[in-house]
Amino acid sequence: MTHLEIENLASDYLEGQLNVLRQAEVERHLAACPDCRDLMAGVRRLFELCQAAEPLEPPPWLVPKILRATVGERKPGLGERLIAWFRPVLQIRVVYGVAMAVFSLSMIANVAGINLRHVKAEDLNPKNWIYQANRNGHLMLGRAEKYYYDLKVVYEIESRLRQLRAQPTDEAPRRQAPAGGSTEGAPVSGPSLASNWTPGNAFQVNEAAWNLRAFSARDGGGHRSVRSTIP
């Protein structure tokens, strides 16, 4: 058997695939040929290395990556999609925010006199909101203006009445003075308020008070303070 034949039969010999006769021939040659023995030892060493070589572990992200490249991302179910949709809404801060907004709106509605039970479809029209805001603004302005003028009238009436009440007490000693003594030394003053009093003036004051009372009665509870100032 030649070296070349040994080389060609090396794998079969080492894998035990030669028949007994052929195997004996190879062994006889190996016993006599150190080069072929060396060659066979090298192939045996290779077998050992191959058997000892542990397979490499693929990286853990490889399978998910291939899955994404082939079947794509896994589609979430209906439940998962619903939860994902509501997840941002169910956060504590969002719930607090919504609760505070509802509370604020209800407070504003309550102060503005809006009863949510009586809200109609046309109340939701922004055009009506503008109209109502304009109307309420004008009403408030009118009431403030009227209140201001009412206060002026009341103050005037009060001052007139105070003058009228003060008049008899001032005149009493002056009228009695000429009867028993001299009028000398009596304070000489200009025309006093009392001296200006005439039945006509009294009539004017009464008329003003009467007008004010009638006005207050007509205007309802909005001028309670005015009415209370009328004597």
Binding site: N8, A10, S11, D12, L49, C50, P58, L62, I66
Partner: protein, 190 residues
């Protein structure tokens, strides 16, 4: 084999989970085949993905009567690897001496590893370096036989060559590898 066939049928019926199971069952084998062919982990990862995409696209062409799914898969992988080898031959010639950066990154220093792990890694790298010196024909035959544990019949089917040619390639490949390894160990041993 029967399990693979069931998974393939479920895949063809549109079950994504079956494809996932098939992938998990065989990805290690394909990855190692790719690594043995290329000697680089990064390239092996890309090639494994490409091979499985090809398998996914051509799964309908698999005929169970023609052979086991594993054999068919190896054939698809082998064809893809040979194509890849032809495409990147020039590039490989210029960068054959460069080390795989992915391996260097993943591998801790010798001091941090137990002795057995260091020896195992050195053996693997030496084997891989020796494999890289073989011609593609011999290399793929040796890999399928000694690393993938395929029979000669299966290898002949995968490579599409007669069994005699397979045996010849494997034998010549082994002798070549043995010489290279002996040289490497001689250099290492001083």
């Amino acid at each position: 084999m029967e399990q693979d066939l069931q998974l393939v049928k479920r895949c063809l019926a549109g079950e994504d989970s079956a494809w996932g199971d098939l992938l998990r069952t065989h990805n290690r084998k394909v990855y190692n085949l790719c690594y043995r062919f290329t000697g680089r982990t990064g390239e092996a990862e890309d090639l494994t993905q490409e091979v499985f995409i090809k398998i996914f696209q051509t799964l309908r062409t698999y005929d169970a009567d023609q052979g086991a799914f594993g054999t068919w898969m190896s054939r698809v992988a082998r064809n893809h690897l040979v194509d890849h080898y032809r495409r990147t031959r020039k590039e490989r010639l210029t960068s054959s001496l460069e080390e795989d950066p992915a391996v260097l990154e993943e591998t801790p220093s010798s001091e941090e590893q137990p002795l057995a792990q260091v020896e195992s890694r050195e053996r693997r790298e030496m084997l891989q370096a020796a494999l890289d010196r073989l011609s593609p024909d011999m290399r793929e035959a040796v890999i399928l036989r000694d690393f993938q544990d395929l029979d000669y019949d299966e290898i002949a089917e995968v490579l599409g060559v007669p069994q005699g040619t397979v045996k010849s390639r494997i034998n010549r490949g082994r002798l070549e590898l043995a010489k290279v390894i002996k040289r490497m160990e001689g250099v290492k041993g001083g």
